[in-house]
Symmetry: C2
Subunit: 458 residues, 2 copies
């Protein structure tokens, strides 16, 4: 039989084809128009499991289906729950893509497509690593249980229900997710903390319809001006969030953690240059890494009101809308923050307009035990595959399932990022370095061996 | 020969057909896609003049053409310059129209179409009144010079250049424009004041492209939040505009004018109910009519940023844009207000974002001599046609040509509104009461006789 290393090498071209096949499917879970495509992506992932000889099925939900799969059982070996998602963010603004978002294209060693890194590419590494074990050793040394969902980008409730009702079949020792990033090029990382989120849509309504700004302007509250007032009230001039009790439950950061962040090789100038911003901005008293990972935020994600075409149009718009998300840190309660946000907005609403507050999903922040033997196993596997020891970091993004896995199944999660946070996840021209794809597959393959060898396993 | 009254009656059906023919042409001057339609509307108006036996031509400009026409000369009679515009506002949001904006439809005595009242319908009254004179008396008793332009809704520069270079052929005693409204149903009005305007587009730019709000949020200035801060800074909480020196040049309103406004039969509750607003809003210390007519404003006309589709999308948008217009009152200088607005916005711009300030057009406010004999002539003509004496009002909208006619040609303008300000001009389902269309034609026809009889004429 070929060695694991040789098998990884031999299968590399096929692994890339498998990725591109999946990236061609526009599985945009937020868009009703793409409902069929989302199912097609699920079916495609199912097929990849079945070709590996795994038991796999589509689990129907009221929304998009979940792909559930298990490796051939290995008695006495630990069980690892692998989570990933096959759905993707909307691809707009389409005109900013160099090549179409659902025609994966390889340029300079990177595959460009919506979902390349978030999360189709990263998720597939844990299928391909198992496939390499099957082909080289005829088995995987641990029991793998896969839950690959299709509603991650819309914060759907269905995964939660699935985890609850399937809990007996989801018993495991630890969970593994690759939906984060490396610390930087050539510097892999293990993520031990995540930010949570609350998301909402706020619509200020004024006159029944758009009105002539000359005939009516000045005598009624303009919903767009009123919305701006509401949004502006969310921060003070220094950048501190003004929602009442927003910071109330957050513990003071420890000196030790602040020092660890300071020692990371973070080049702020390069970070800002990469994203095209001239100066940092944020909550006073915190560094850029702290603002990204360890402090909460309140960001507008979109604004819509009145006339958006070319040239001027002299109207008072009938309504104005903002999409708003707050990123939360551990110990902030999403329900309380959402309620406080709504109360605050209503408290500053001018006369003559009304407010529709539409709450989307919420999820608390998450912190992982950095002393866990699973962390040490992952550390060794990554160091071997990448040739560099991983650093311990936090992540500013939200992975709601991590909180669900802990709450519903009692599982800690190894967050192992293979991509880069400059891969334009959620933006145009999302991409994934193919070398990172293959290193991720190798690290995953080594992780199965490391976990199988743990004294606490089984 | 039939009397003028009989002729007006006989020609009424044809006058309605002429209006509907013009309303079918989508002459949206702001839209490059409608350039051909704008010219088609000009050619159509030209044809209506030619069928009346008037000398008429299209005057080319770098933008949309101007229709220039004159009635058969009458020696010794005064000359009246009639101005109107054949271009219209954009029709969106299209889905809010009950019938398509460019398929004129008559329901309950009203014609519904974009431009029905602003300004195709009102403008045509002065062609149809002359046509009635031609058919009943073989001549119009005054010399009429028509300037019908196609760039009113975009504030183009070309009319200004035309008025300058054609000044020798535009000599007149007074100007007449119907691009305002009656005071209310059954209460005609003469408008003796207009607000001016400055219009601009403000774009706040942050990162090179949309970014993941979890990975980057909190560490860079969000352009949408920053735009909201800029817009919110334009007013204090009470509704007073905060642009420096905004109110500096405005004379205190006289007790006499405030009293005249108070005596107008204005039903504020009905006004608010009509437009669907629960409470008035505006500059403290002024009534709703004063806020609409005699006080300046600062309104957002549109907002655009980031994700505008269904559901949430967790990004920090790359940019955010607001279209902003200020309505000005007499004595405010548009250039100074525009410059002060730009300086103010730059002064409150947070670090890490940049500001593009795109100035559109500007025009000062206008006040008319209420003691003019032309005003008395118009008063009598309107009282005769409508059976009700007109009231003297001001208007919150802007008609830049009125200021140009005064500055370039030394002309005062009779602003005679036949429509209602509830006709949804600039909004969906714009309409014009056909009875008002015909009363406007009659008032215009009587005005030609009143002006011909003025001792100061000729």
């Amino acid at each position: 039989m070929p060695t694991l290393e040789q098998t990884l090498k031999d299968l590399a071209p096929q692994f890339e084809r498998d990725l591109c096949d999946l990236l061609q499917i526009p599985s945009v879970s937020a868009s009703p128009a793409h409902k069929g495509d989302v199912r097609r992506a699920a079916t495609h992932v199912l097929g990849q499991f079945q070709r590996m000889g795994f038991t796999a099925e589509l689990v129907e939900t009221p929304g998009h289906p979940i792909v559930f799969a298990t490796s051939p059982p290995v008695a006495g070996a630990p069980t690892v729950l692998v989570y990933g998602h096959y759905d993707v963010q909307p691809a707009d603004p389409l005109h900013e893509w160099v090549t179409p978002p659902f025609e994966p294209t390889i340029r300079e060693g990177r595959v460009y497509a919506r979902g390349a890194t978030d999360d189709k590419g990263q998720m597939l590494t844990h299928l391909k690593s198992a496939e390499a074990w099957m082909r080289s050793a005829g088995r995987v040394p641990v029991n793998l249980t896969y839950v690959i969902e299709g509603e991650e980008e819309v914060g759907g409730e269905n995964l939660e229900h699935f985890l609850q009702s399937w809990a007996p079949r989801l018993k495991a020792d630890v969970a593994v997710i690759s939906d984060t990033s490396q610390f930087g090029p050539g510097q892999p990382a293990i993520t031990h903390g995540l930010r949570g989120i609350v998301a909402c849509e706020v619509t200020v309504r004024g006159p029944r319809q758009d009105l002539h700004s000359g005939v009516f302007g000045g005598s009624i509250c303009n919903p767009a001006n009123a919305l701006a007032r509401l949004v502006a009230s969310l921060h003070d001039a220094s950048g501190r969030v003004q929602i009442p009790d927003f910071y109330a439950d957050i513990p003071t950061p420890t000196a030790g953690e602040r020092e660890r962040l300071r020692q990371l090789p973070f080049d702020e100038a390069a970070y800002l240059a990469e994203i095209g911003v001239a100066a940092p901005w944020g909550e006073p008293g915190f560094s850029t890494l702290e603002r990204r990972w360890a402090r909460p935020t309140c960001d507008v994600n979109g604004l819509t009101s009145g006339y958006q075409g070319e040239g001027p149009k002299t109207i008072v718009p009938a309504w104005a809308r903002a999409k708003i998300t707050c990123r939360l840190v551990p110990n902030q309660n999403p329900e309380r923050i959402m309620a406080s946000l709504e109360r605050h907005l209503r408290s500053v609403l001018p006369a003559g307009v009304t407010l529709d507050f539409k709450a989307y999903h919420g999820c608390p922040g998450y912190a992982f035990d950095t002393d866990s033997p699973y962390m040490q196993a992952a550390h060794r596997a990554i160091a071997r595959a990448f040739g560099v020891a991983p650093v311990l970091i936090r992540e500013g993004g939200t992975i709601p399932v991590v909180e669900s896995l802990r709450r519903l199944l009692g599982l800690d999660t190894l967050l192992l990022g293979w991509g880069q946070n400059t891969d334009n996840l959620h933006g145009p021209n999302e991409h994934f370095l193919l070398a990172d794809y293959h290193r991720g597959i190798a690290a995953s393959a080594y992780l199965w061996a490391e976990l199988a060898a743990l004294p606490t396993a089984g």
